[in-house]
């Protein structure tokens, strides 16, 4: 039997390790990645013109970053690696891609989706003002463009990334007005035991947090964000702590409430389609590397290659330990449910400029109980991002309005192209 055609989408930690594991077993994959260089979001490589050692960009993770970059450099000649290539549709064993204006269809038997994560955004009053960035966007500005998102920045939200990005900004010399975490300090203390399952990672987290203090940066935990104010741009952030209303002046806000998987789903139910890394379930970069390799080994075994049982067992043990750590993180930084408490005039869907109140009206008027019906009636999720930004908050709102579990309201169906494509479309040879 001929070896199957294997396609991998995403050249981050998971995708690269999957490709490497396959290559080690004599299987070649087509590796499609939107970025010009491999590494993914966390180990994003700067443009060639950038100088400076990896340690200045990746900090404690410099060694892992360099190892991954070396792997993709080596693999590039051994496999069919396609950087700067957008995968914009998948249907019936075919992946439609676009590279430098040229379209190409990749036919596959096995597909690995390793598309990573993006910030979980929750709308709040003023979140669409110029000057508000996702935490991931703030990080890209620093890593890939060598600039900060503002002169006086506030970081608002929750999750490990909140502290990491703030630390990276502080280290780069940017002025940070405040770090505002919606989760209280006691949640983190309660999670310490689980977090100690990965002592090194925990130590790094504590270090990032502590170093903000040594830079003289105010960190406030357990805040309730009230909104971002300004007319044409960000002017200040309003929040409440205890019963005290506070505000902090700034010209930019980095906003993020944890990460969400780009695929919206944990597990593929389609035969021949594998999910790996943060794209399948948030686990972080280390887990993504392991997960990618694990998927590569599973596919190799499926293709009749030598079954590397001891390596698989080792990966599974390490993944289990990381999962315990992850559970601790989720206890330390539980995802807040802001979606159900938003004022009616807050913009929920920024692509279509749909406000919370309009969505509530649509839900009531048409007895909406499911996400795609909500989209059809209210237009939420019909715009450029197809709900990648607002989908989660919209689901929370629908669940709260209809007194259902979040899982019961379903999820938005993605439609091609997954990112807007200009007319005319490339042919698909």
């Amino acid at each position: 039997m001929a070896d199957p055609a294997i396609a991998i989408v995403g050249a981050g930690p998971a995708g690269i390790r999957a490709a490497e594991a396959l290559s080690r077993h004599g299987l070649s994959a087509i590796l499609v990645d939107e970025a010009p260089k491999g590494g993914g979001q966390i180990y994003r490589q700067p443009p060639d013109s950038f100088q400076g050692p990896a340690s200045s960009r990746y900090g404690f993770e410099a060694r892992k970053a360099s190892a991954l970059h070396l792997t993709i450099k080596r693999l590039a000649t051994a496999i069919d690696y396609r950087p700067s290539t957008l995968a914009w549709n998948v249907c019936n064993g075919r992946l439609d891609t676009l590279c430098a204006g040229r379209g190409e269809s990749v036919v596959f038997d096995i597909l690995v989706i390793a598309t990573g994560a993006m910030d979980r955004m929750l709308p709040l009053p003023g979140w669409t003002l110029p000057g508000v960035y996702a935490l991931g966007g703030a990080q890209i500005a620093l890593k890939y463009q060598g600039c900060a998102i503002g002169q006086n920045t506030v970081f608002l939200g929750t999750g490990p990334l909140l502290y990491l990005v703030a630390y990276q900004y502080a280290k780069a010399g940017a002025k940070i007005e405040a770090v505002l975490d919606v989760n209280p300090a006691h949640a983190k203390r309660r999670a310490l035991f689980a977090l100690a399952s990965s002592p090194r990672t925990l130590a790094k987290g504590i270090y990032y947090r502590a170093s903000l203090g040594t830079h003289g940066i105010a960190v406030e935990e357990g805040v309730t964000p009230m909104g971002i104010a300004g007319t044409d741009e960000v002017r200040d952030v309003h929040y409440r702590r205890g019963s005290v209303d506070k505000s902090v002046r700034c010209d930019a806000v980095g906003l993020g409430f944890g990460l969400k998987s780009e695929t919206q789903d944990g597990e593929s139910t389609v035969s021949g389609v594998y999910l790996a890394g943060d794209g399948a379930g948030i686990g972080g970069a280390d887990a993504a590397e392991l997960w990618g390799e694990r998927v590569g080994l599973s596919i190799a075994a499926r293709c009749g290659r030598r079954h590397d049982a001891s390596r698989i067992a080792k990966i599974d043990r390490r993944l289990a330990r990381l999962a315990r750590f992850r559970a601790g993180l989720e206890r330390a930084f539980p995802l807040p449910l802001l979606g159900s408490t938003l004022p009616d005039d807050t913009i929920l869907c920024r692509c279509e400029s749909i406000r919370v109140g309009q969505v509530k009206d649509a839900i009531r008027a048409f007895d909406v109980v499911e996400m795609n019906r909500m989209k059809a009636i209210s237009r939420v999720g019909m715009g450029r991002c197809q709900g990648r930004m607002c989908g989660h908050a919209a689901a929370e709102l629908l669940a709260a309005e209809t007194r259902q579990d979040l899982a019961a309201v379903g999820r938005l169906r993605g439609q091609p192209p997954i990112k807007p494509l200009p007319m005319p479309w490339p042919g698909t040879p």
Binding site: N89, C91, N92, D96, G103, S105, E352, A365, F366, D367, E370, N372, R373, A376, I377, M382, G383, R384, Q386, Q415, P416, P417, P420, L421, P422, M423, P424, W425, P426, G427, T428
Partner: protein, 395 residues
């Protein structure tokens, strides 16, 4: 098929299978007549053909058998706010059907002459006039015909709005309730659903779209129905400039611009699996539709396409639907297989169904749509359209 335990029994005057626009309009009008109604829909109301189509509210270009129905439906479109509480974004923008060669122009002229007999006024435009009045049209357009009171509307709103109005007057509309069996039960019908619901009814209405053939077959009148999957796309919002709903001879592209600025367009077929569970737009079809749209409206060059979609609908070999009483079973009424152009007709189809159930006859001529036309025809797939002006997919 059986084996579903019955957990709920209902006894009604009329059972309707299929919650598209025809079924929901029928539910509203039957209920207003005072009959008890239960409608069963396997998904959400209007989630297939009725909700995913182009949104054309068009009389022009139709098969002449459909024109009397389309004329009557247009009147209903004008009073949607009173009927269902919303205009469903209906804009009587006029529908411009364009010719890209002399042959097409001649065909448009012939059609306009014949349509006049049905009371449909079409205004012919030569090259100069069509370009003077529509400066956004591409050079490949050599003329066209305008149906001034045609237009377009939002298909995602129409069926849910009819459903809401039907519920408000007491119709029982069951969503996510797939029908697994329909049968005769003495003088009544019995309809069993996967949810455990069993409905006993005096009359049965088949508005099941692409699935309508299954119900017809259950009553010994199989029809050669095929599955069609429209292939639709939409751009980002653009400044308003496309003032009409636009189609072409041949039907390979059609487009409209909504109030928000997005340009909705389509043409050609998407993909649907044979079990009718899933449909997807096709990349090749999309690329071709985009090329044709650019030919028609060159200013769309570089506009971003933000989404595409498809859905499932039933197509008949002669491109007109089945509407009317069953030829085998009393009190069974079919209205399915609208072959890609049921959206405009939908509102009046519900009224016609109501007439058939309530009075035994419709004031609209239905002869051409009789299910009997397929009797004994083992394979009618290649019967050509009775009307040469028939567009292909032309929602």
């Amino acid at each position: 098929m059986t084996g579903h335990a019955v957990t709920e029994r209902l006894r009604v005057d009329v059972a309707i299978v299929g919650g598209g626009i025809a079924g929901c309009s029928a539910a509203l009008h039957l209920r207003r007549r005072g009959l008890s109604v239960c409608l069963m829909e396997k998904g959400a109301l209007g989630s297939q053909a009725s909700g995913v189509n182009f949104g054309g509210v068009r009389q022009q270009g139709r098969h002449f058998a459909e024109l009397p129905l389309a004329r009557r439906s247009r009147e209903v479109w004008g009073r949607l706010p009173e009927l269902i509480g919303t205009d469903c974004e209906f804009v009587p923008s006029g529908h411009l059907k364009l010719a890209r060669n002399e042959e097409d122009l001649a065909a448009l002229e012939r059609y306009a002459a014949d349509a006049a007999e049905f009371g449909l006024e079409l205004e012919m435009m030569g090259r100069k006039r069509v370009h003077d009045e529509h400066r956004w049209l591409g050079e490949n357009v050599i003329g066209g015909s305008l149906a001034a009171d045609d237009g377009h509307a939002n298909p995602r709103l129409l069926t849910p709005a009819f459903g809401r109005a039907a519920r408000a007057v007491g119709a029982d509309l069951r969503e996510f309730t797939p029908v697994v069996e329909t049968e005769r039960d003495g003088a009544r019908f019995r309809v069993r659903c996967a949810t455990g619901l069993e409905v006993s009814a005096t009359s049965l209405v088949n508005t099941a779209g692409a699935w309508g053939g299954e119900i017809a077959a259950a009553f010994d009148e199989p029809v050669p129905i095929e599955t069609i999957a429209p292939n639709m796309l939409v751009t980002e919002p653009l400044p308003s400039f496309i003032t009409r709903a636009v189609g072409v001879c041949g039907g390979d592209v059609y487009l409209r611009q909504v109030a928000r600025g997005n340009v909705v367009f389509g043409g050609g077929d998407g993909w649907a699996d044979s079990s009718l569970e899933r449909s997807r737009p096709s990349s090749e079809t999309s690329a071709r539709a985009i090329e044709r749209a650019l030919g028609l409206v060159p200013a769309l060059q570089s506009a971003l396409v933000i989404r595409s979609w498809s859905g499932i609908e039933g197509g008949m070999p002669d491109d007109i639907p089945v509407i009317g009483f069953s030829s085998t079973t009393p009190n069974l009424i079919h209205a399915f297989g609208f072959s890609g152009h049921g959206f405009q007709l939908g509102p009046v189809i519900g009224i016609i169904i109501d007439e058939l159930v309530g009075t035994g006859a419709s004031t609209s001529p239905l002869g051409a749509f009789d299910i009997g036309r397929f009797h004994g025809a083992a394979d009618l797939r290649h019967v050509s359209a009775a009307n040469p002006e028939q567009e292909g997919a032309k929602r």
